[in-house]
């Protein structure tokens, strides 16, 4: 397909916007060029595909989302460690955080009946309980199996479990529970700070969390899209296979 140089320039402009901020709002001029010109649109879509990302368009926003798996646009681990977990942090902190995030979204979207969230908010305590339940599920695999799996590839679950076990639910001696403390609550507060910076959750007081529109759009437009969902399942399945063959 032949493209006019104007289209390529416009597509590039939109893309730069998206890479810088992750989204473009309806009011911005670049939004219109995506909307009106199918050439620009197909260019941007293929640029995005090249970087393992997808463009999600609603009538108010354009979002650039890194695809599940290994997209180069993803936030670097080193950056997250430095910004949110201090100097001694390891990748373990990050895996623990991802674990918590997955549990968080699971807590909101827990029904086959409706595509909307089944809760209005998530209390911090409830989140802790659900994380603990999931940890228990993991532990049921038994230390031998986990250790064996660890040999095979990057399976760090037993260290994640240990990490979580080592933390108290909260520091009883402390007057205020904040993110600086070495406790599970302190850890969650750090995760919340990260999620807030990513514009995924909001706090509404009384230790309750609500999802932002952005988070809902990602789940309902990306995870629930037949095509992308298949990709996600394939991505997960690939690890099951590794296990099956050996």
């Amino acid at each position: 397909m032949q493209f006019h140089s104007d289209d390529i320039e416009q597509a590039f402009r939109v893309l730069v916007h998206l890479i810088q901020r992750g989204k473009v709002a309806e009011e911005e001029e670049v939004f219109r060029s995506y909307l009106t010109s199918s050439e620009v649109r197909s260019l941007i879509d293929s640029f995005a595909a090249e970087t393992d990302s997808v463009i999600i368009k609603t009538s108010e926003h354009l979002f650039l989302l890194p695809k599940s798996g290994q997209s180069i646009f993803h936030v670097k681990n080193a950056y997250i460690r430095r910004e949110y977990f201090g100097h001694q942090a390891t990748n373990l902190d990050i895996y623990m955080m991802y674990f918590c995030i997955i549990v968080l979204f699971g807590a909101f979207y827990d029904s086959y009946e409706t595509s909307e969230a089944t809760r209005d908010f998530l209390p911090l305590g409830e989140w802790l309980v659900q994380i603990r339940e999931r940890m228990d599920t993991l532990r049921e695999h038994g230390p031998e199996k986990l250790a064996q799996l660890e040999q095979e590839s990057e399976w760090n679950w037993s260290s994640v479990i240990e990490y979580w076990e080592a933390l108290d639910d909260l520091k009883e001696t402390a007057k205020r529970q904040d993110s600086k403390q070495q406790s599970r609550l302190g850890f969650l507060k750090r995760v919340i700070r990260f999620l807030k910076d990513q514009d995924l959750v909001l706090e509404q007081g009384n230790d309750e969390l609500v999802l932002t529109e952005k988070a809902k759009i990602i789940i309902q437009r990306y995870f629930m899209d037949l095509e992308y969902n298949r990709g996600i399942l394939a991505f997960m399945y690939q690890y099951d296979q590794v296990k099956g063959n050996e």
Binding site: S59, V75, S153, E154, N156, Q198, E213, M224, M236
Partner: protein, 510 residues
């Protein structure tokens, strides 16, 4: 089966939906609390009272209603019984009521029932209260009724909420006719809630349209819903217009009868009513606009969904979270799953060439420093397209005016132009505008300005061409400054300048 009997179950879900919201009240009724004298508490009616309290605080537009406010109210109405308790006791009651209306676990209320129409089990999710805003520092939440909560309130009166606004309008009119002005004000407050509720409903619809991949059926459902809303808004709009006319008329009638103190007070009230009504009307009108843009968005979303296919059933908790933990998947996979949520990453980089760039010691933001010593930039912000276009139009108008003023002359002073402008009613405001001064500065900066060569690239030159266009027979325009200072308006001060047009030789001979 008889057709009539078959139709019996039509809209079963909708009916169930209306019934389900009563459940929290019965849930309250099952509570076994006793007050301090050991008498049982009627939780059911206490619950309704609490709902009415939240409704009232919406009526009075109080944005902040916390559990403490509710407790205080409960204590106040029970000052003389029947419930005997202290402050802490009422606070506990208030908290229990709020928790029943709005589950502390964050889960929506769920009503599961067998749908006889579709012949399967279905769920209805709802909540009656929601957090409107919160004070994070003091950890206080402020609540308000959700749309369903309002529905419950209205269900206790005799009319449907769809006709709420129209009925309000009707009642208001009757009250005005009878001269019950105090009641009228309350009616307007109720109207404003109805409008606000409608706005929330539309906002929610908007969100739903945004974040769902819409199938054809849902799309037609949304469009139908929007059409209904639009028709309703249009109808109400008309009624508002009529009502507004009526209020004005009543006001006029009153104006002739301002004798006693009582009439004067009534008149004051009427003015208040007119004002409030106008406000509600205005809000309502913006909704009408919004409903149109919402419809456009629904269409767009539908078009968008041509590219995608959505899942009918997806449960993040089961399909993703459980899967990860039970298999288990490697930690690396978790990272992969979280990716879509996190935005793109920008690598910060630094170029070694920065070393050769001008290094400034002053702070960022004070960069104008660098350009001083040169003539103050007259044509700033020209990079903005809209500003540039605006400026060009202004200059054209100013140049045209000066040309007219000069007639056959070739010399004119700034002071004369300013004086002439000051005398013209419709142009006097030009003196208040910066463009006028920028105009002179620009000419002075580029003086002498030659006739357009037609190939100038930058925007300042483009402006100059626009000015020169007013003197098609001119060879050049020269502007020179003089000693004296002028102050045409309070805000601006400028040096006196003299503008000279040098004609082309052939133009003079003509």
């Amino acid at each position: 089966m008889d057709q009539r009997l078959k139709d019996l179950t039509r809209g079963y879900r909708e009916r169930m939906n209306r019934l389900a919201i009563f459940e929290p009240l019965y849930e309250l009724d099952r509570k076994l609390g006793k007050d301090q004298r050991g008498n049982p508490i009627d939780w059911f009616s206490l619950g309704l009272l609490a709902l009415l309290f939240f409704f009232e605080s919406m009526l009075t537009r109080r944005r902040q209603t916390s559990v403490r406010d509710l407790a205080q109210y409960l204590q106040a109405v029970n000052a003389t019984g029947p419930i005997a308790s202290d402050e802490a006791g009422f606070l506990k009651m208030a908290r229990e009521i709020i928790e029943t209306f709005r589950d502390a676990s964050g889960k929506k209320k769920e009503k599961s029932f067998y749908n006889w129409e579709t012949r399967r089990r279905e769920q209805i999710y709802y909540s009656l209260l929601e957090v409107r805003e919160s004070n994070l520092a003091q950890n206080i939440q402020y609540y308000r009724l959700t749309e369903r909560g309002l529905e419950l309130i209205f269900a206790t009166k005799e009319y449907y909420s769809e006709f709420h606004l129209s009925i309000n309008q009707l009642v208001l009119r009757k009250q005005l006719e009878k001269g019950e002005l105090n009641g009228a004000l309350r009616e307007i407050d109720e109207m404003s809630i109805a409008v606000e509720e409608l706005r929330r409903k539309m906002l929610q619809l908007n969100h739903e349209v945004q974040r769902n991949i819409i199938s054809h059926e849902t799309q037609s459902k949304y469009v139908k819903m929007l059409d209904e809303i639009h028709a309703r808004l249009a109808r109400e709009h008309e009624e508002f217009n009529e009502l507004h006319g009526f209020v004005l008329e009543t006001k006029k009638k009153f104006e002739y009868e301002l004798h006693s103190e009582k009439e004067r007070r009534a008149y004051g009230l009427l003015i208040e009513i007119a004002k409030e009504l106008e406000m509600v009307h205005h809000q309502h009108r913006t909704l009408l606009d919004e409903s149109i843009s919402l419809k456009r968005k629904a269409m767009q979303a539908a078009r968008e969904s041509l590219y995608h296919a959505g899942l009918t059933a997806f449960n993040f908790n089961q399909d993703i979270t459980s899967r990860v933990m039970t298999s288990p998947l490697p930690t690396l996979a978790v990272q992969g799953l979280v990716r879509p949520f996190l935005g793109p990453h920008l690598e910060k980089s630094w170029s070694p060439l920065e070393v050769f760039a001008p290094q400034r010691l002053n702070k960022a933001g004070a960069e104008e420093e660098w350009e001083t010593g040169y003539f103050p930039e007259a044509a700033t912000d020209l990079d903005e397209e809209s500003f540039f276009l605006c400026q060009r139009a202004n200059y054209k108008a100013i140049a045209g005016f000066i040309r007219e003023l000069m007639g056959e002359r070739t010399l004119i002073e700034l002071s004369e132009v300013a004086a002439a402008l000051g005398q013209q009613e419709d142009r006097r405001h030009w003196l208040e505008h910066r463009s006028f001064y920028d105009f002179w500065l620009l000419l002075h900066q580029y003086s002498p300005v030659k006739a357009a060569a037609g190939n100038r690239e930058d925007r300042a030159a483009n402006l100059l061409d626009e000015i020169m266009a007013s003197w098609p027979e001119a060879l050049a325009i020269e502007v020179q400054e003089k000693e004296s200072l002028l102050q045409p308006t309070q805000r601006y001060e400028i040096q006196e300048m003299i503008l000279q047009v040098r004609m082309k030789p052939d133009a003079i001979s003509q």
